[in-house]
């Protein structure tokens, strides 16, 4: 594989990690977040600032970013996750917009629209990742770890509680489940995935700017979830691969690319609302009385 294809696959893998995390919050817990770009931005900017200006080692900065994203998700989660449906969608959308504005306005930290360049490559000590091939291997190992850890979470007591909230909040409450606390936890967990992916993105591209973490990221993430299959283990990964490589597949149709995206999304929503994997998976015979 040449470097160009590897680069496309690395970027798709980075998106896959965010999508796997978002799937825990949206697919399994049943909550909407249109603000996940904020958590990727926290990871990206924390890594960029700490490794350029402060000289932190990349791995330490990555963990610092994830910690910060978890703290931010918890602080934002407690007031907003009492909201349901449209209200939660609006609140999280605002979160994504605010993070964008902050990344533009806090020029002392983020250098505004100019962005931060010269982010060093990932590495531990003398072991530095210099080639797209190295990133490809690392990112897809991380995708596997992300999907594996998500599977473990979903198939645990924690996962039962999250899925119960999606199934019915009142019933979950009646069984003693602390609904708000578990929603916040799901948001915090998914924020950590997004933050780690954001950090890796910065190191891989060596440059970040507000545009890298704009609302378009949210549009892409949801397209990936719906195309791959929301609420399935591998759906987000498949979706990220398909949507992440579409621009290259469609590179001959540059002018019509967005149009083709939209058409693909509409077709999926109409004919395969459970995504590509939903078509393949064994389906329940009927779903009466829900």
């Amino acid at each position: 594989m040449n470097d160009y294809i590897l680069t496309v696959l690395v970027l798709a893998g980075i998106y896959a990690i965010i999508a796997v995390g978002l799937n825990i919050f949206t697919g399994y817990t049943g909550q909407i977040s249109f603000g996940h770009n904020a958590f990727a931005a926290i990871g990206g900017y924390t890594s960029a600032i700490l490794t350029t200006d402060r000289g932190w080692p990349p791995l330490a900065a990555l963990f610092a970013g994830a910690l910060l994203a978890v703290v931010a998700a918890t602080l934002v989660g407690y007031p907003t996750l009492r909201l349901r449906g449209h209200y939660l969608a609006m609140a999280t959308l605002a979160l994504g917009l605010i993070s964008y504005v902050l990344s533009v306005q806090l020029e002392g930290l983020t250098r505004g629209f100019t962005g931060i360049s010269g982010i060093p490559p990932l590495g531990i000590g003398a072991l530095v990742m210099t080639t797209p091939r190295a990133y490809f291997v690392l990112v897809w190992l991380l995708v596997a770890a992300a999907a594996g850890s998500a599977w473990l979470i979903v198939h645990s007591r924690l996962g039962l509680s999250l899925r119960a909230i999606r199934g019915g909040e009142d019933a979950a409450r009646a069984l003693g489940i602390d609904v708000t606390r578990y929603k916040v936890q799901a948001l915090a967990i998914s924020a950590a995935y997004a933050s780690v992916a954001g950090s890796i993105f910065g190191h891989f591209v060596s440059y970040i700017s507000p545009e890298a973490f704009g609302l378009y990221m949210v549009v892409l993430l949801f397209t990936m979830l719906f195309v791959g299959g929301i609420g399935t283990t591998l759906g987000p990964v498949v979706g990220a691969l398909v949507i992440g490589s579409l621009p290259e597949v469609l590179s001959g149709f540059k002018d019509y690319r967005e149009l083709i995206y939209a058409a693909v999304l509409i077709v999926i929503l109409l004919f395969a609302p459970r995504g590509v994997l939903g078509l393949v998976a064994r389906r329940p015979a009927a779903r009466p009385g829900t």
């Binding site: 007591r157 924690l158 899925r163 409450r173 009646a174 009927a286």
Partner: protein
């Protein structure tokens, strides 16, 4: 015998509608009590007030000796009061077994670290809870459906699953909101036997029901509501002959 649940002067209004007015009654330990009344009498509102889904405007709820008025549903569940819903509320996309496993939430432990690292204690607990859940499913006749999504069950089976899930929470008092609604006669009979066997194991059951046959067969005590007020309370035989109950059900005075 002291009461397990004691409701005193419970009152709740919705805007101008006084849904529950100064209702008082007791549920003793190891008993089966029915809450009956015409549609709109306030039965489900009483359930919501007792289980913490609504806050009363006035009155008190005592459970197991403590004043629990206005406590959240989760705290009531912790104390041992678990309810089902008039409109069955299953986790439809989850399997039948996972629904019952979720019922055991309060009797299990472990968050994110346990999920990721699966220590022996977590695995042992999971095995124990799963055995108990499968036993509950056998008991309500759903053993063969354990791996099916709950949403694929027939309606009567969904009601039984909801009860099995509530039992997995190991309540001291089980609140059932119209458990026989939508059940065929055979299923209703099975339900009656289940409620009695649960009582024989030391639980108390308070249930709302329109099926008078079931009420008269299994209830030790009957509380009758009409227009938000308690109009009668007593043994099933007395209730059947009570003039105000007959009036409420036959509609002698009320406009249609």
């Amino acid at each position: 015998m002291s009461a397990l649940l004691s409701v005193a002067s419970l009152t709740k209004s919705f805007g101008g509608l006084r849904a529950v007015r100064t209702v008082s009654f007791d549920v003793t330990a190891e008993s089966i009590t029915a809450l009956i009344g015409p549609n709109g009498a306030g039965k489900t509102t009483v359930f919501n007030l007792v289980s913490g889904f609504l806050r009363p405007d006035g009155g008190r709820v005592h459970f197991a000796g403590a004043n629990v008025t206005g406590r959240a549903p989760r705290e009531m569940a912790k104390l041992g009061l678990v309810r089902t819903f008039q409109r069955v509320q299953l986790f439809a996309d989850m399997t039948v077994l996972d629904n019952v496993l979720t019922g055991a939430h309060l009797h299990t432990r472990g968050g994110l670290p346990a999920a990721l690292f699966r220590p022996p204690a977590t695995r042992a607990e999971r095995a124990r809870v799963e055995t108990a859940a499968r036993r509950l499913l056998e008991r309500v006749g759903l053993g063969a459906r354990a791996s099916d999504p709950a949403g694929t069950l027939a309606f009567g089976q969904q009601r039984l699953l909801e009860i099995a899930r509530a039992l997995a929470a190991r309540p001291r008092l089980l609140l059932l909101d119209e458990p026989a609604a939508g059940l065929n006669p055979a299923e209703t009979q099975r339900l009656g036997a289940l409620i009695e066997s649960v009582r024989n194991e030391g639980l108390s059951v308070l249930f709302i029901e329109h099926d008078m046959n079931l009420v008269m067969t299994i209830a030790g005590r009957v509380v009758v509501l009409d227009f938000g007020e308690k109009i009668a309370e007593g043994a099933p035989d007395d209730i059947q002959r009570h003039p105000r109950v007959l009036e409420a059900y036959l509609g002698v005075e009320e406009p249609a």
